[in-house]
Structure formats: C-alpha cells, structure tokens
C-alpha cells in the first residue's frame, strides 16, 4: 500500500499540486493480511491551493478488504467515493474484520457512493498473458487500482511505468504484469460508467523552483548533512535503531562520501556518548532517537551540559509512556526536553513544524550548538517523520555558512574561558598544541576551569550556564504570526507537527470572519524574546497539543497568562475540523459545534 501511495504522491507532485501525505503503518512487521491491526494505510491530500495537512475527511477511500474498510470508513466524507475490492468481501475476511454481515449487501454503506469492483479477478484477467501464477497475478491488484485512480484524477501513467521498469529491472515479467495491471485499471475507468467521478485538480500556484517530495526524517538527515558542510565540520552520528527515528540513521549511513560517519552503537547511552566524544574531538556530534531512547540519554545529556560541548539530539517523538505506541505520533516529550534532567541542566529546545521544515531546523540546531557550545534538542515526531510534502530544493551554495571557532590561541586559555557575548566556552580540540586541558562532569571553576567545590563558584557557574541558554533568545528570530493579525481576540499558539491543521483551521475561521490568528513556535526553550509581548496583544490564547498540556504550562508559568489548553492524545494528528470547532466554540459561544467524530477530548484547565 505504501508503494502505491508513494507513486500516487509522485503523480500529484508532477501535476504540480500542493500536497501532504500521511502513511499509517501497522505496529507489526508483517501483520496477517485481513486483520484490522494489519491494515496499512496511506492518506494523501492534494490540491491547487496550499495544502497543509493530509486532510481530515477524504473525498475518496480505496478499501482493499473489509478490515481496511472498517478501520477507515469513519473518516470518509459523507457522499464521498468508496472503492472496494469486492473479491475480498468473503466470509472469512468479514469475520476477521468484525463484520456480522457483508456491508456491501446490508445497506450500511448507503451514505457513500460505493464502487464495488472485483479488482482481484479483473487484475488476474488483465495479466493472464504474462504467465504469472494466479497468486502472483493477484499481487498486481494495487497497481490495477492505482491505474483506476490515475484515470479518475487524469494523471499520466508514465512516471509509474518508468519506476516499475527500474524497480524490477531484473524481473521483466513483473514489470510487464504490473504495467498491464496499471493500464487495465486505467482502461476500466474509461469503459465503466463512472465519469461523474472524474476530478480535475489544476496545478497549485507555488514559488518557482525545483521541487521534490521529502519526508521529515530525510529532511532531518539532509539538514544534518548540510550543517556539516555549512560549518565545515565532519558529522559523527551515534545512534541506536528505534521507530520512528531509524530512517535518519539509515539515510546518513549512506553518505560517507559527504563526510558523515555513523556509528550504530550498542544502546542509546553509548550512542549519545559517541556523539559527545566526537564533539569533544572537534566534530559535529549528533544523535537521533525516540521516547524510550531519549529517556536513556538523560544522564549523558547532563554531561554535555556540564562540559558545554556542542551536540544535536533529534527526538522523533512517538506515543508514550514507555514503549507506548511506537508507530504512532505524539508531542509528549516537550517537558522532558526542557526540564527532564537531574540538576539545573538548561538546554536549547527547537521543534520542526512540517516535514520539509525539519531540514531548516536541523541546520538551526547545529548553528546554535556550535555557536553556544551546548546540546540542542530538536523535536520532530512520527507524523513529520513519515509524512511528506513538496520541498523546494535549495541552492546549497547560497545557504548561510555557519562560522565555527576552534581555539588555537594559547595566551589566556583555560577550558572554561568564555566569549563575553555568547558566554560560550572555548572549544579547544585534542591535537591542538599548547591547549591540553581536562574537563569533566564535576563543577568547574569559573576562572580556571579546574574542579571547584566552592559554593559561590557553583552559584556563578549555574547562573552562567542558564544565562547562556536564555541568551540564545537574542539570536533567534522574533516570534511571527503565520496567519491573521498580530493582535486580536484569539491567538492559536501551536508547536511542532500541528502546524498544518492549525493553519488550515485558522484560515477557515478567518474566512468565516472570526478574529483569530495563528502563531507557531519553533523555539521552545528559550522562547523568542518578543513572545510575551505578542501573547499580551490577544484577549485569549489557545494552545492545541497532542499531549495532555505541556506547552501551555510553560507559557502559563513564564507569562502568567491564562492560556487555554486543547489537547488530543490519540497517536494521531489533529483534524482541521477539530481545531476549527474548538476555535468557533471559543469565538461563537452562542452556537457551540462539537468536534466531529467526537474523537478529541478537551482539557481546559491544565
């Protein structure tokens, strides 16, 4: 399913639609086909206008079996087109999916426009000439269906044919079969009486340039590659595989030629320690993980804070607590990033807003890390990691260089001598003559860098470490507004992957004439220097989050503002509808619509 989803995405992209996708993997490696927990889904939203989310309620749903139908039907728009492979609606499959009766026959699908097609049989017939066994032939049914979808949306078959040729270069019989299936599905559209279902989605008006699709994990990896080039530092990634972060490791491990070293360590503790060691030795140390792995890095993060070494830590958040929901998304590691260490151990925390934004934020994390000699945590999540959107390929030569100073001057050196402005300590790399020194996790003397147990010195160093991190606020952009005015009745303040849903919901509400704006935080610690002032210009602040209310508490404690929390914790992104309803509930109090599907709970008082 993921493969056909990718192909359809590409076709939409080549038709210059704006788009966003949301693949939904089952938790099992190869869960048995036909079970509800084995359903692999792929949602895509594309259009001629800006697209910010994979969409709440699709216009078209393709269900290849009863399990897929029962899992996804509730999302399909009333009256939308429902394509089902009727061959799969047999007793055994119906039972596995929990259907007492066949929904194709009992009238329960009457709210939708149902197109029940014997896709398996049609596919087998279409590829009969290739001599594949009937089981193998049936496997081409996804491409048959893709062909039909291409007909519905008027897409060209060419790129997919090319892709099949490359993919199965060594198995020409598979190329032939899948191409035949694709074409047969397309032809079916022509011949069957379904032309009332044809859509024309014209190209979106986007900034000129060269585009490609990119997922959050690849964007993160490429951002780290770019950071290496822009700083001129070799990148050393220590990592231990974990869902949904592993692809960042996989991608970086393919690019040794670009100056990256990847070490798959024995665990997450070793992984961050490898990165710390590498930074100590003068490289850009990075590590990537998710929830449980982040927990394990806690102690070593403290060492990086205490020794003031640059380090980029990417946390691709997933559902928690503990093992939680490894393949699902969540935003519940913010507190941990900002506060989750022993002792006063301040760290800079950033969050990416969209898949492509991961690229820019990875570079920004590296910039801050080397400039301030500090670990930086970059939060992404499972939704960003696997979701994809078009990305305008940058001109690498025009990306801003990141200046790095590694000290060589012997005069006046000690390891904790600081830049008076940034408060960053000197980065003196082993191998540099005249600068031999010792560092460690015990408190250091402000004036000499030697071990110190002095009470006053500990106070000075603790406050200096804090001041250094808070000072980053002067070096990051002021908080802007994504949509709407910079003052008014309601500000919806988001962070991370809720970007698209909030942006679309706010736009819709503004179209209804509501006085609402959207601001999106990329800097979670420290906050942008103008944030307090900005929030103060709104009567109310609403903070939607995929957790139980974390950013809202940071905002409340920092600005003493009665920010309102709106949370959803389902391992799934917000729907635009849910946020729209919540905004309207706030601004149209007479007429309180409730969130569609009744799926999201509201948590008002944090």
């Amino acid at each position: 399913m993921q493969v056909t989803g990718d192909q359809f995405t590409l076709a939409a992209a080549l038709a210059r639609n704006d788009l966003a996708t949301f693949p939904d993997y089952p938790a099992e490696i190869r869960a048995p086909v036909g079970t509800t927990y084995g359903v692999s889904g792929f949602q895509i939203h594309f259009g001629a206008d800006d697209v910010f989310t994979p969409g709440d309620a699709p216009d078209v749903l393709v269900a290849m079996n009863p399990a897929a139908l029962t899992t996804n039907l509730r999302d399909l728009k009333r009256g939308g087109l429902l394509i089902v492979n009727s061959d799969e609606f047999k007793a055994a499959n119906l039972r596995k999916a929990g259907y007492a009766a066949n929904p194709l026959e009992d009238g329960s699908l009457s709210s939708w426009d149902v197109l029940a097609i014997d896709i398996t049989k049609l596919t087998q017939a279409a590829v009969a000439s290739t001599g594949l066994s009937s089981k193998e032939a049936a496997r081409c049914k996804n491409f048959w269906t893709l062909g039909l979808m291409y007909w519905i949306y008027g897409r060209s078959l060419e790129p997919t044919v090319r892709w099949l040729e490359a993919k199965f270069a060594k198995r020409p019989e598979l190329v032939a079969a899948n191409v035949q299936a694709l074409k047969a599905g397309h032809a079916y559209g022509e011949t069957a009486e379904i032309s009332h279902h044809r859509y024309d989605v014209p190209p979106a008006a986007v900034q000129p340039g060269k585009y490609r699709n990119i997922s959050g994990n690849i964007a993160t990896a490429w951002g780290l590659l770019a950071a290496g080039q822009l700083t001129g530092l070799p990148v050393v990634m220590g990592a231990y595989p974990i869902t949904p972060a592993s692809d960042v490791l996989h991608e970086l491990s393919r690019h040794k030629a670009l100056g990256v070293t990847t070490v798959q360590a024995e665990d997450e503790i070793a992984a961050i320690c490898v990165a710390i060691g590498a930074s100590y030795a003068g490289s850009l140390g990075v590590t990537v993980t998710s929830g449980p792995g982040m927990a394990l890095k806690t102690e070593a993060l403290g060492l990086a804070v205490s020794t003031e070494l640059p380090l980029v830590v990417v946390n691709v958040q997933r559902g928690g607590p503990s093992t939680g929901l490894p393949t699902k998304t969540e935003q519940a590691d913010l507190f941990q990033a900002v506060y989750g260490r022993n002792g006063e151990a301040p760290i800079c925390v950033l969050a990416a807003a969209t898949p492509a934004d991961c690229f820019a934020m990875a570079i920004e994390a590296a910039r801050i890390a080397v400039k301030y000699m500090t670990p930086v945590i970059l939060l992404t999540d499972g939704y960003l990691a696997n979701g994809a959107e078009p990305w305008r390929v940058p001109d690498v030569s025009k990306l801003a260089k990141i200046p790095v100073t590694q000290r060589t001057e012997v005069e006046g050196f000690h390891p904790f001598v600081r830049d008076p402005k940034t408060l960053a300590r000197a980065w003196a790399v082993p191998g540099t003559p005249g600068l031999t020194h010792r560092i460690g996790g015990i408190e250091k003397d402000f004036k000499s860098g030697h071990i110190s147990y002095s009470p006053e010195n500990h106070e000075l160093m603790s406050r200096t470490r804090e001041a250094k991190i808070l000072g980053i606020a002067e070096d990051i952009p002021e908080q802007g507004i994504e949509v709407g005015a910079d003052h008014g009745k309601l500000l919806v303040l988001g962070w991370g992957s809720t970007y698209g849903a909030i942006r679309e919901a706010v736009s819709r509400c503004r179209a209804r004439g509501l006085d609402v704006s959207h601001a999106h935080l990329r800097n979670l610690h420290p906050f942008p220097r103008n944030l307090g002032a900005l929030l103060g210009k709104f009567e109310r602040v609403l903070v939607p989050e995929m957790n139980l209310g974390q950013l809202v508490r940071l905002i409340r404690s920092q600005y003493l503002l009665p920010a309102i929390s709106y949370t959803k914790i389902q391992g799934k992104p917000f729907k635009v509808d849910e946020i729209e309803s919540r905004i309207r509930q706030e601004l149209e109090p007479g007429d309180r619509p409730s969130a569609t599907n009744g799926s999201s709970a509201v948590h008002e008082e944090p």
Partner: protein, 340 residues
Amino acid sequence: MNDVVQPTPLTRKDFSSDQDVRWCPGCGDYSILANVQRVLPELGVRPENMVWVSGIGCSSRFPYYMSTYGFHTIHGRAPAIATGIRAANPDLSVWLVTGDGDGLSIGGNHLMHCLRRNVDLRMLLFNNRIYGLTKGQYSPTSEAGKVTKSTPDGSTDYPIDPASLALGCGSSFVARAIDVDADLLGAVLRRAGKHHGSAFVEIYQNCVVFNDGAFDAFTAPEVRPERTIRCEHGKPLLFGKEKNRGLRIRPGTLELEVIELGKDGMTEADVLVHDETNAPLAMLLAHMPFPEFPVATGVLHAVERQTYDAALAAQHEAAAAKSGKLSLQQLFETGETWTV
C-alpha cells in the same frame, strides 16, 4: 598514534599536570600514575596528541594528573565516549582508565562492545576489587562472600575475572599487571602503547582504605615469584625464585598443570612455551585457580586485526572513490523532481 616523533625528546614531566593528586596516601593508584608517566615518553606521542578518558571512581580521576587532553566522563561510559573520539579523529592516541565497578559493573556492556569492535585504544582497568570512591561496597571482582557495607552477610555473587571476560569478548590484547611491580607494569604499558586495536590491561591495585592487602597473597614481594607467573611470548612458562616450576598441558586433556623441573623426570622441554596469539591458552592462563596455580601476569594474549577505526576509514575512502564525490546539491536532486 600516527604522530611523527618530535625532535625534543619527551620526559615524564611533559605528562604531569600541575594538579594536586588527591588519592589516599598509600593508594596503589600513585604507583600506576608514576609508571604511566615514566613509560609514555618512550612512545613518542606528544601530550597534545594524547587523550585520557575515564569514567567515575577513584581510578577515574587519573586524567586530571596527566598534562595531556583529558575527559573525566560519567560512570561506566568512557569506552563509548572514547569510541566517539576515535571515530572523529583516528590520529589521537586514546587511553582509557576505568575501575572494576566503572568498567565491569555499570560499564560492562560498553567495555564488551568496545573490545569486540577492536576500537584502537588502550584500556587500563584498575582492579581493587571494591568500590573505592563510594566508600567500600563490593564490586563484580570482589571474592564470593565478601563482607562490605552493602553486603554485611557476605556477597552472594560469583566474581568476574576481568582478563577472562576481555578474552571472552574477543579482545585483541589482554594483559595483567600489578600496581607495585614497576618492571612488569612498565613492560605491559609499553606493549599496550604500541598495540593497534583495543588493548585491555588489568592492573591489580591496592585500595589501602577499603580493601587493604587484597592482593598480598600473590603481590607481596616475598611471595611474588612463587605465586605469579610472567607470560612472555616465545618463552617457557616458568616461575618460582629459582625458575624451577613451570606449566604444561596435562596430556590428552584441555587442562594446565604445574610441574617441577627435575621432579618426575620433568625438564624445561616439558614446559609449555607461551604463545600470545593462542586465545584458548590465554583463557586457561587467565582462569588458573589460585593458590593451586600462580596468577598469570604479562601479555596473555595479543593479535593484530583490523581495528574499528581503520574499517570506518576504509569505508570512507571507498565511498569517496565510488561516488565520484556526489555533491550535496546532487543528492538533493536525485530521484524525481519537478520544476515550477
């Protein structure tokens, strides 16, 4: 390690920092420090190209006393941090100091993976069979039944033998030394310093405060010749003041036995010649039960094989050659793109 020998010869002063040494008076760590500082100049690596990495423990304060680069990290993690240092800069000479708690209790896994990967570094494990810094709890090398603060009724664990464990992890170099035996320690450090790959050195170290005399039964000068055997590659495994006792394989078995020259017709020809490349032999030597057998010291095992760092470097070179220097821009533009 790739350092060109510098014109001015180095001295021990070049490796001594100006920091007060803060071990307890009489601690075995002093003697180890002195011997390290004595031997290092011979290796021809300048202090600025050397990094001493440690975990946490009395032993792990070692880097502060060296005028090289030094990193006093966190408990048990030094091997992982050192791996990162080597991955970033394979030109540095990396030395690691750990304790029996730091290296074998909390840090056992990192030690194991570092050794099996054969990361090019030297790892000195100061084994005092006790937790020194936390004031006397039993460690993984403490004898079974050991009475300590945390085990008032005696410990219920079976101890680990560090050298055996290192051999079990496939370490390419395993040696044993004694804090107060300067000759042995110096020889072992010299060999370790020249080894390519993970060189594991266990040093029996006396903790005067919490485990005084733990090794007296074989390290005290008067018993040492009879109770230890120094293994040297290519030399017969003889011991005793008169070098009149030796080891041989009990015929037809996989066991060692002690023989006395001149007794039962035994001659030096019957004595096993030490072969440091023979891993099973090293395992038997490391495992010999005391006091029935002497404690084996010296280089028990040493073989050269590709190091982790060298393998990484080779992959980098191969990748650069193969990809014909694919630029970042090219990478971004691989696969399907479209222009608006």
